[in-house]
Symmetry: C2
Subunit: 240 residues, 2 copies
């Protein structure tokens, strides 16, 4: 039986980190909410149901047989060992998850560049704070996060992946992070990414993997847009 | 050999979720950075070292034998099964972690009530945005999160815990969440918490567990203060 992935149908968002893992693994899955109006209502029903023993707080969530699993990093924790996307040892698995949780933190900070006050308000209603937050984000936080991943890659000498000699699920997430940051902040990233050549090389290496390349070229990959986590608001990018 | 917990020595912060688990389990641990100036420099050295195969992005991190584990929820994922703080089944373990990651999300939102623009700036430099963010946080986000945990507790009928019939590590984190929200927003919480009697009852049940009660009464429990995640700034609380 294929996995059922539940996520908002019109954005990459947090669901994309799960989609990339499923696509790389060629795991059969249904992107439920993208299957017409029925899929979306099925997702909302599941979220509001009082009969779920393990209700999700928010999408994405994954159904695998009897299991219903929510929280992006938790879904990847589950999928990793099942699809060879993480090594067998305890230390490596904990480290993979640690890196994924660091990606989670970064994703939240990306989101808050355009919504620093509240998701209840439109971007247009918090533009001033968004500009301030984006400036500090580009100046301090992006270098801190990318510098950290660069350091992890540098330590894993000559392998080109974050952990050991093979791809793991956080590698796929780093691809998405770099692609997203480039989309949202093209001017700033042109300058910033020069300092993180290993992160850039990892992104490029992931992009040409056959399953990922096929996915990116397919209609299954939703284009970046201004409803997702990574939004291109020129006012929030650096001036040059 | 005792665990070594590395965390900022003067705040509860994210480290507190780990401390509560270690204390409940009576697991021997050293709170390294609280052992004088030497402890703090040991922590900073570890963070800056290029020789760590698995470097942490930020505290807290835990040393257990040869393992160095970072990210609060990841540390609890590791400690849970070792100390009977999570059931044996896969579904229950994934759900415990899912709840913990939801706590992680909430903790970040609490932090951002006083630092909506940047951790690089003082609260005083982002007071206006902090007031706005706190208002929406108290109106929308606290009810959404507490309502979710209340629903999980209600579904686990009559047990008084989040999962099954025994305490798990996210139960301890819910205790900390309620204690922290009460400290930070006493006026708002007096009103809000009435709607979440099961969450309040869980907090009260945890507070009187012998190991937790002993910990809370000990000097090991750092008092809440205005350097941590939960800060009491009366201007951010509701007016009554």
């Amino acid at each position: 039986m294929p996995y059922e992935l539940y996520y908002w149908p019109s954005i990459q968002g947090r669901g994309e980190f799960v989609r990339l893992a499923l696509e790389e693994a060629e795991a059969p899955y249904v992107d439920v909410a993208r299957k017409g109006a029925g899929g979306m209502s099925a997702m909302l029903r599941l979220m509001q149901s009082n009969r779920q023993a393990h209700p999700p707080f928010a999408p994405p969530f994954l159904r695998s047989g009897k299991l219903l699993i929510a929280q992006t990093a938790n879904i990847l924790l589950y999928l990793g060992p099942r699809h060879g996307l993480v090594p067998a040892g305890e230390a490596a698995r904990l480290f993979a998850h640690q890196l994924q949780l660091t990606v989670t933190d970064l994703v939240q900070e990306v989101h808050d560049t355009h919504h620093p006050i509240s998701t209840e308000l439109y971007y247009e209603e918090q533009r001033r704070a968004a500009k301030q937050r984006s400036e500090v984000f580009l100046k301090h936080r992006v270098p801190k996060f990318l510098g950290y991943f660069e350091r992890v890659l540098a330590h894993n000498t000559g392998k080109g992946f974050l952990i050991g000699g093979r791809l793991t699920y956080p590698d796929l997430s780093i691809f998405q992070i770099l692609a997203g940051l480039r989309y949202a902040f093209p001017r700033a990233m042109k300058r910033i990414e020069r300092s993180y050549p290993r992160v850039v090389a990892l992104h490029d290496r992931i992009a040409i993997r056959p399953h990922i390349a096929a996915y990116l070229a397919s209609p299954r990959r939703i284009p970046f847009n201004e409803e997702g986590i990574f939004r291109h608001y020129p006012a929030l990018d650096s001036k040059r």
